[in-house]
């Protein structure tokens, strides 16, 4: 495999336990009005992408590595809380 570069490749190494319910939600109207939309680029796990058709934010919560950067970057429209006990990312090295 060698040295990995992209987030997608790197996330492929991680073990997750997926919950059917998302632990993240977005206030879409607030997101659409945000001129920076920083969550699209500060997230280290590419959780947030933009739906180019309606300008809304798509949340790929399964990717989340639980760092919390998004809620610091945009507390006004990110509702982030821990996945339920035992769910989410499982680091083997740390």
């Amino acid at each position: 495999m060698g040295l990995l570069k992209t987030i997608e490749e790197k996330l492929g190494l991680l073990k997750y336990k997926f919950d059917r319910e998302s632990h993240i939600s977005i206030e879409q109207e607030s997101f659409k009005q945000d001129p920076t939309q920083a969550i699209l680029y500060v997230c280290p796990a590419k959780v947030y992408t933009k739906n180019e058709e309606d300008g809304s934010c798509i949340v790929n919560y399964e990717n989340c590595v639980e760092c919390g950067t998004c809620r610091i970057a945009a507390p006004q429209h990110v509702r982030w809380f821990y996945p339920k006990g035992g769910m989410g990312v499982n680091y083997r090295q740390g």
């Binding site: 919390g68 339920k84 680091y91």
Partner: protein
């Protein structure tokens, strides 16, 4: 488990939580540790060097059983320009016959924290992984228990210790911090663990036996933003990463992995990782708000420790695990006193703050209280100085037939043109105030 009541509930089985649990269990106090991860350690992450002075008192035979990687015998601080670096490199054989005494060991937290939680269980604490505390139960301004998910169970205790980590929702809920964090006070680090052949690794970093390195980087490897890069050697892997404040990433439109890749591709870093294999990628937030923005650390029935309390020395010393473990021990000692007095109100719990204030934990945080605002207010330090230094060193060492005296004069002239003497003098004073 509804309607149960124990003496102490600890939220989180990281190093702060387990340090508190070991201390309480050894004193015979009933203690329950609730950990949201499937196993302790699986959510935890740091650079990593674990500083072991506190561990030495908690688990005296830790050297025999803890999952340690290497002991740090070489420290290096590097200022990166675009095409190279200037570094201060310290290497010692001082601890060769007694590695334990240097108290700085690289570890991988998923393994280490699992081991430490086991020590808490051996001491008599009950550790429950897979239980996420969603909120505190507060009655008449006093914390009396916690609610957990999944299940919505309510658990009651005389006192709750939060070792919740950087997110610190409980501190917020309790009103001990008033608002969400400032992006300029929070760092997000992205990290990779890269596997190398053990002999290749030893040769690249000039290591004998179990020796290891801690390398810190500033400047262009981070696109000149406020933050640091790091390389730590484990047995046959490298921990490599970059951490930059969220404010800087927002303003410069940078992604943590993009910064990490830029760092990995810098000419000063590239040769270290050549031929390696990425085996894990991870990211974590570090609370770097420092002494001036600490939350309140106790209230009736509640104590806050570790990252949840913002106890990180983010200066060039880059300490966190030792502050976390010390705070865990102080919180536990305070609970032991509270049990003796049968008083779990602030009257007794305020002892915790006194212990922190009388120790290196808050003394060091106080010493570096100007650091974060210094770098936020003076972005040119990490953005402009590294390349200027690289250029001047380059001029100085470039071979020519020009007499040395002439070269020196030209360099001095260039320096004065680029930074007026007055600015240089005030900048030097500012650095002294922030760091020394």
């Amino acid at each position: 488990m509804s309607e149960e009541k124990v003496t102490c509930i600890i939220v989180g089985a990281g190093v702060a939580g387990s340090a508190a649990a070991i201390t309480l269990a050894k004193a015979g106090i009933e203690v329950l540790v609730l950990e949201r991860g499937e196993v302790p350690g699986c959510k935890n992450l740091f650079g990593g060097v674990l500083y072991t002075t506190i561990l030495d008192k908690l688990v005296p035979d830790w050297m025999e059983s803890a999952p340690l990687e290497r002991y740090v015998t070489r420290k290096r601080f590097s200022i990166m320009g675009k095409d190279g670096e200037i570094a201060l490199d310290f290497k010692t054989k001082r601890y060769e016959s007694h590695p334990k005494r240097n108290f700085s060991f690289t570890v991988l937290r998923a393994k280490f924290d699992a081991w430490l939680a086991e020590q808490a269980e051996k001491a008599g604490a009950q550790v429950f992984p897979g239980m996420m505390v969603s909120e505190l139960i507060i009655k008449n301004n006093r914390v009396v228990g916690v609610k957990t998910e999944p299940g919505g169970d309510e658990l009651y205790a005389d006192v709750v210790i939060s070792a919740e980590g950087v997110h610190s929702y409980l501190t917020l809920q309790a009103g001990l911090r008033k608002s969400e964090f400032d992006p300029d006070h929070m760092v997000t680090a992205a990290k990779e663990v890269i596997q190398l052949d053990e002999n290749v690794l030893a040769d690249r970093f000039q290591l004998e036996g179990n020796e290891g390195v801690a390398f810190a980087y500033f400047g262009d490897g981070l696109f000149g933003m406020f933050g640091a890069g790091f390389i730590y050697t484990n047995k046959n892997t490298l921990s490599i990463g970059t951490g930059v404040t969220i404010g800087e990433m927002i303003r410069n439109k940078k992604n943590p992995n993009e910064i990490l890749e830029h760092f990995k591709n810098h000419p000063a870093i590239r040769p270290y990782i050549r031929g390696g294999e990425t085996i894990e990628y991870s990211a974590h937030m570090i609370p770097e708000y420092g002494y001036n923005h600490l939350p309140k650390l106790y209230m009736d029935g509640f104590l806050v420790t570790g990252d949840a309390a913002g106890l990180v020395n983010s200066s060039h010393h880059q300490e966190g695990t030792n502050l976390a473990m010390a705070s865990g021990v102080f919180a536990a000692e305070t609970v032991i006193e509270a049990v003796k007095r049968n008083d779990f109100t602030s009257n007794t719990l305020k002892l915790y703050l006194e212990k922190l204030e009388n120790s290196f934990v808050l003394k060091d945080l106080k010493k570096y209280r100007h650091m974060t605002s210094f770098f936020n207010e003076n972005p040119h330090f990490l953005r402009d100085y590294p390349d200027l230094m690289m250029e001047l060193f380059g001029d100085y060492f470039e071979l020519s037939e020009k007499p040395k005296e002439e070269i020196e004069k030209e360099i001095y002239k260039k320096l004065k043109r680029r930074i007026p003497l007055w600015t240089m003098a005030t900048d030097a004073w500012k650095v002294k105030k922030a760091l020394f």
